[in-house]
Amino acid sequence: MNNKRGALLHWVVVGVFLAIGVFLVAARSGIRLPEQGRWQLDFLEQTYLQAEKDQLQIELAALHAAQELVVMLAKNGGYLPGSASPCGAFQGTNLWNRQAERCFPDAKRTALGQMEALLREKLPATTFTELGFQGTFAYGKGQLQMITTPSASYTYDPSYALDIRYNFLEYEQLKQEAERLLIRCGGRADTADCIHDAKPLTWKRGTLCIREEPLSAQKIVPFCVVSRYRPDDALLEYHLALDFTTAYPPLEVVS
């Protein structure tokens, strides 16, 4: 009688093939292995990338707010729209003096206050503890922000420092030029000729910088001054008016 133990090996092989066949039928779409580094990539996408995007949006909002502010202030002679100079206005242009009284704007301080309001409107979820303008840069120090996902949390700093391509020191230059013009031409009979000769080249009589108004005898004169800065690539114009009615005493220097 033949020994049947030898057949066991054959049946094992048949069994293995059967098992493979069952496996192939059950896993019709093939073997699926989980992606390597899935958690890490998800973490980076949901937290790090999101933080980068948020920081970009913050910087964009701050840049646009600063540029809008600069243009807005320049258009209104250093004052906010809707708020008039203490010396009043002439034909819609804010006056920088009323006879001998000076009403030069503190544009930088006004800008800081308004910047805070603008950022609160554009970025309600972000709190800034310190805002400022230094040179041509606008900066803001923000409170740390947190992004939370079911499996992780990520903290980032929303502070910004941006080149707004404008320097508020230009207002100091404008004030000096206005002061010089008032001292030289205030209270004179030939005010118009004096202004024509003494005004800086960038100062144009009237409300349009591209076309100067003809000489006239009026003592309150609106000016349009072209800035050397272009924060939003467009021409920046200051609109202000000066009162030459009376002689204009220079400021006393107290040592």
């Binding site: 090996l9 992606e35 924060p231």
Partner: protein, 145 residues
């Protein structure tokens, strides 16, 4: 006699297990084939997983570079519309190791004029190389004077 029968049975049992060399050979070959098939299936799954991971990693790097590129433009004072940020990130592509988001990112005249990564595809803008400034600028189609 009993002892003789026992030894004969032992000889027969051992012979039944590996009666033919062919059986052994067949078993080994079939075993190897089975391993090959299983190995192939797992290798295919592994390389799919690897390429998926690589694709996701490359995509992450692309987006990270695009965002960094946009941030450096903003820090330099360049104007970008907040609403266009997502579409700018989506359209960004890598060329020669450098991320290209807008026309100004091209660094050769050839790539610029051809719009090598087709960032202007489907939009009204195209790229043009300025010889004077040696830079690539964005032009609106129909205004190529």
């Amino acid at each position: 006699m009993y002892g003789r029968a026992c030894s004969m049975n032992s000889i027969i049992n051992k012979k039944a297990q590996t009666q033919h060399l062919a059986d052994l050979f067949l078993t080994v070959v079939l075993g190897a084939l089975v391993l090959l098939v299983v190995g192939f299936m797992f290798n295919a799954a592994l390389s799919t997983r690897e390429s998926k991971t690589l694709t996701t990693t490359v995509e992450f790097r692309r987006m990270d570079s695009a965002i960094s590129n946009l941030r450096s433009k903003v820090l330099a004072g360049e104007d970008i519309t907040p609403g266009a940020v997502d579409s700018l990130i989506e359209q960004s592509k890598v060329l020669g190791g450098k991320i290209i988001t807008t026309c100004s990112d091209y660094f050769t005249a050839e790539d610029c004029n051809l719009d090598a990564v087709q960032i202007g595809l489907g939009s009204v803008v195209s790229c043009r190389w300025e010889k004077k400034t040696k830079s690539c600028t964005t032009v609106v189609r129909g205004d190529l004077r």
